[in-house]
């Protein structure tokens, strides 16, 4: 076929057909609920769809009005802010996290439900989301490890009273962080203490709790606090979490409001507690062994169980900010010059304004793509926890029955690693080729399934918290800059400046980035996770085969590079002979954690796109717009995949080469030619001496050498890496074309006439 073939064919097409086709494939309107429900897999969950609408009305109504009226400009918990709590109750948000038996209305695990609610609130204001989620955080320890009586008592008290019911609703606070120099990132340096105050034979012990908190959310009004404390008495073993009431005898000092710069619609204080409480308030109960009170769960175990869920929600709070920035930015860009004396309606300046400039479009594409990737990753993690909750509960029950705790439990779990790996292998084998009986057997084994999913959950949770909030904050800065001076004022439409600052808190509380990187550094090297990861590479290649424009192949190549690098770093040493991938070497482990997050987010974004393509046609309302959405999201995936590949390539190269010593001119056996070695060779191979000088480093007879740091690094032993890296660079092919296409969409997409919340 002549190279002109396709072009000629296109030339024959009628103009109208081509135009209609282009219009059909263009992004015509901003993605609405129908698209989101499919992408984030709640198209069949009417309970969640209703919750989303209710929370959205709350966010874009009372919350937005408060922010617009300047309610964020005070540190104190004002009456105006307090009124928000009643709005939460009235909208159904407060009861959203509760089980129906305690007055809630969503059956089953509620990770996705709470994630969606936090997302909707943060679309307008992150502080309102923090405020709404804080009681759930306080209830977290009770939900995860509380005794049945504790669960019943506190859950039902925290549900708004039903019509006709005379009861004041309870709100809670979660107190782990302590004044310096105690608990922060390091949750084990507890100063809060618990002692036995009175313990009469055969009676419930009375405990004295001393705890000071720092930055405790909901503290201005909390009726109860779940506090982390350590034993300060030899009659109590280890640490625990304990429930404090505002009317317990002693000091319940709410403390001064934190002078925070962000999330001002939430209350944060530094409280002081010195209270007498019955031992039945220990979360999860206790046993008495040899006259010693032994809490059933230590504080570290409880907070690990709590945070692994709530951190995902926080990640989605930042994702919402990025996606919420798109519409105000487009509106600003288009309207930038309208109203000017010389700006005629219909002119490019009038219609497109700043959107005539490529850079602002490209940057907005980047913001949008990051928002999609982080939402994809966050909601995937929330869904995983919904699936995982019953499996984990089953595991806890089995191990409790067998009396297995701590190390004994870990030992038992280790035994499950082999069948878990076998299951992952079988699951990836085509049904016709695998041992069906064995597969079914392993699938039905809930302990094996626990191992299989736990490995992913242990990576996804910190990845969401780390990447969504950290990289999200960086991207919010881009969003701010696209709004010019407005961006950094209170008047900025969409509250983008405030959201940028808010995002930084989301990167900090519930464990800053270092905590997440530390966790990932361990969990991402676990064999079961790596077995998943290998299958994901194959999966991305398959996707790429079917859908080449998605960037799936790029992601797969970057995943291979990451995996190679991880293996290399685990075995390699630095130039001083010190091993590289070790707990203490955060300079090695942390960047690898960062790199992984880019990959996970990109992969999930692509998987969500496939879901939209698959299920979109089921929704009649999408019929018209679907081709455009699919095309546009494909391009966003490609853009994001390229960015991820770039980050991974950069980080891996830096780690692989960065710990080697650069060859020097002085070193013995430096990897370069000496001039006097080349001269004789020239006799046999004429021209070699001249040629060598343009390809490699030659030290002249007088000892002089090219002006550079030393002979170039030799890649011997690194061929696999360099060839993967080269391949990855090639994999970026087309990514900028995708960006150009997506940028064009931004100039054409229809946006609402006016924003749907006051700013």
């Amino acid at each position: 076929m002549s190279p002109d073939g396709p072009r000629m064919k296109r030339g024959r097409e009628s103009m109208t057909t081509a135009k209609t086709q282009t219009e059909k494939m263009a992004l015509r309107a901003l993605p609405g609920d129908e698209v989101r429900q499919i992408l984030w897999r709640f198209a069949d969950r009417y309970d969640l769809q209703m919750a989303v609408q209710a929370v959205r009305a709350l966010a874009r109504g009372p919350v937005a009005r408060m922010v617009a009226d300047g309610a964020r400009n005070s540190h104190e918990w004002t009456d105006e802010k307090a009124a928000l709590l009643n709005e939460f109750d009235a909208s159904g948000l407060t009861a959203l996290g509760m089980d129906p038996e305690f007055g809630g209305y969503v059956e089953g695990p509620k990770n996705l439900a709470l994630a969606l609610a936090a997302f909707e609130l943060s679309w307008v204001d992150g502080g309102s989301a923090t405020s709404a989620m804080a009681t759930n955080l306080a209830l977290g320890p009770i939900h995860e490890r509380g005794t049945p009586e504790q669960q019943k008592t506190y859950m039902s008290r925290c549900v708004p009273p039903q019509p006709g019911e005379k009861r004041t609703i309870w709100r809670g606070a979660f107190a782990l962080t302590e004044p310096l120099p105690y608990v922060g990132v390091n949750t084990r340096v507890l100063s809060g203490g618990v002692r036995v105050a009175k313990w009469k034979e055969g009676e419930e012990p009375l405990l004295q709790v001393e705890k000071r908190g720092r930055f405790i959310t909901n503290m201005a009004f909390a009726n109860f606090v779940t506090a982390a404390v350590d034993s300060d008495d030899e009659r109590i073993k280890g640490s625990c979490m304990i429930i404090l009431h505002e009317d317990d005898p002693g000091v319940f000092d709410r403390g001064a409001p934190t002078r925070k710069l962000v999330h001002q619609l939430s209350s944060t204080n530094d409280p002081i507690f010195s209270l007498k409480v019955p031992a039945s308030r220990i979360v999860g109960g206790f046993k008495v062994r040899d006259g010693v009170l032994v809490p059933n769960y230590d504080h570290a175990e409880i907070i690990a169980a709590v945070f692994r869920r709530t951190r995902v929600t926080v990640g989605l709070m930042t994702a919402a900010k990025l996606l919420s920035a798109v519409e105000p930015i487009i509106r600003y860009q288009r309207g930038r010059y309208r109203g000017g004396k010389t700006i005629e309606p219909g002119s490019a300046f009038h219609e497109l304004g700043l959107q005539q400039k490529e850079d602002v479009l490209h940057r907005l594409v980047d913001i949008w793509a990051s928002g999609e990737a982080s939402a994809a990753l966050g909601f995937a993690a929330a869904r995983l926890f919904d699936e995982f909750d019953p499996i984990e509960k089953h595991k806890d029950k089995v191990f409790e029955e067998r009396g297995l705790k701590g190390r004994a439990q870990l030992k038992e779990l280790k035994k499950l690693e082999k069948p878990a790996l076998e299951y992952i292998e079988l699951a990836a084998t085509p049904a016709a080729k695998r041992d069906a009986k064995r597969f079914e057997e392993l699938e039905a084994d809930r302990l094996v399934q626990f191992m299989v999913q736990d490995a992913v959950a242990n990576v996804l949770c910190p990845a969401v918290k780390l990447w969504n909030t950290g990289q999200g904050t960086n991207m919010m800065r881009e969003a701010v800059s696209l709004m010019g001076g407005y961006g950094i004022t209170e008047d900025c439409p969409g509250f983008i400046g405030q959201k940028w600052m808010d995002a930084q808190l989301e990167a900090t509380y519930e464990g800053p980035e270092a905590v997440q990187r530390r966790q990932l550094a361990i969990t991402m090297t676990q064999p079961v996770f790596l077995a998943h990861f290998r299958q994901w590479i194959a999966e991305m290649r398959r996707v790429a085969g079917r859908r080449p424009g998605t960037g799936a192949c790029t992601v797969a190549s970057a995943m291979e590079l990451w995996l190679w690098t991880l293996r290399h770093l685990s075995e390699a040493e630095d130039a001083d002979g010190t091993p590289l991938y070790r707990d203490k070497r955060q300079g090695v482990t942390f960047p690898m954690a960062d790199a992984l997050c880019w990959l996970l987010a990109s992969r999930q974004q692509i998987l969500d796109l496939l879901e939209l393509e698959r299920r979109g046609p089921e929704n009649e309302a999408l019929a018209e717009g679907l081709p455009g959405y699919v095309r546009f999201f494909t391009d966003l995936c490609h853009v994001q995949a390229a960015r991820a590949a770039g980050e991974v390539g950069r980080l891996c190269s830096e780690l692989v080469f960065g710990y080697n010593r650069h060859p020097s001119w002085e070193a013995e056996g430096a990897s370069c030619y000496q001039a006097d070695e080349l001269e004789p060779l020239d006799g046999f191979i004429p021209g070699i001496a001249a040629c060598a000088r343009s390809f490699t480093d030659v030290v002249e007879a007088d000892g002089s050498h090219p002006q550079k740091a030393g002979p170039c690094v030799c890649f011997t032993g690194m061929e696999a890496f360099t060839s993967m890296r080269r391949k990855l660079d090639g994999c970026l092919t087309g990514a900028r074309m995708a960006k150009d296409r997506a940028a064009r969409d931004l100039t054409q997409v229809m946006i609402p006439e006016v924003p749907d919340y006051p700013t």
Binding site: D33, E34, Y46, D47, Q53, A57, E620, M750
Partner: protein, 269 residues
């Protein structure tokens, strides 16, 4: 009262007014650009009718509310996520276009025929509610035509208040010109009430109620019959969205008298 009311509310979707509404010439006549992709809301006057109906039903034992909606099924489903938690009702859905370019006559025909087939509906107890107008096409005639087809001759337009009396009659306040109300007393159902704004605010969300409603809403949507409505034989010469005109001037320290005088002058112009 021995028997409660059977309240049928006619109401459907309109495009969210905050969206960009741009009339275009579609394959089958005029349409709004990207209409199916835009978020929709409950037609505001029909909304008032629905909330008034739910309130009345809750206060009158043995009453029931049906919401009869003619609209694109998928869009109706999305709308239900917002209104199901606000009022107790049973949905009767008809799948068809609900835009501003359908002929009220055809819509009324489809709605009336559908209402006639509602199982268990006692038309002697029927209070037929709807909006006095629609936000997508202010025809203001649909409810009368539905009423006629159901042979209901007691019709009240632009209703703001409807109060059942002790003696079984119903007192109705209708908006008339010059900001006044016409007060009527009607012997009882059946009647048509096309609501203006009514007196009730939008009810608060009740998630439990929403879950309860959804149990019947989903099957109703699944069995929604296609309704053939359009604007056969009608030729649209021109369509345009009403332009919002806003002349804002920031004037500080103007007295109330000055402001009033200026407004009167502006109205006179």
């Amino acid at each position: 009262m021995s028997q409660g009311f059977h309240l049928v509310v006619c109401g459907s979707i309109v495009p969210d007014p905050l969206q960009t509404l741009e009339p275009i010439q579609g394959a089958e006549g005029p349409a709004l650009k990207n209409e199916m992709m835009l978020p929709a809301v409950l037609d505001p006057w029909a909304g008032h009718a629905l909330y008034e109906a739910a309130h009345l039903a809750a206060a009158t034992p043995d009453s029931k509310v049906w919401l009869v909606s003619l609209g694109p099924r998928a869009k109706l489903q999305q709308l239900m996520m917002t209104i199901a938690p606000k009022a107790a009702f049973e949905l009767v859905a008809l799948d068809g276009p609900a835009g501003g370019f359908t002929e009220a006559w055809e819509t009324a025909e489809a709605l009336a025929e559908c209402i006639k087939t509602i199982p268990g509906l006692d038309r002697s107890r029927l209070l037929l509610f709807g909006g006095c107008a629609s936000a997508s096409r202010d025809a203001g005639v649909t409810m009368q035509m539905v009423g006629e087809r159901l042979e209901i001759s007691d019709q009240f337009l632009a209703v703001d208040e409807l109060t059942p009396q002790e003696n079984g009659t119903i007192r109705i306040l209708e908006r008339i010109e010059a900001g006044r109300y016409q007060v009527s007393e009607c012997a009882g159902p059946p009647l048509v009430a096309a609501w203006a704004t009514g007196r009730l605010p939008e009810p608060p969300n009740n998630a439990q109620l929403g879950m309860q409603n959804m149990r019947s809403i989903m099957p109703a949507l699944q069995k929604a019959q296609p309704a053939r409505v359009g604007a056969e034989g009608v030729e649209f010469l021109e369509v345009e969205v009403p332009k919002q005109r806003r002349n804002t001037r920031v004037v500080e320290d103007a007295s109330v008298d000055e402001m009033a005088r200026e407004i009167v002058e502006w109205i006179r112009k």
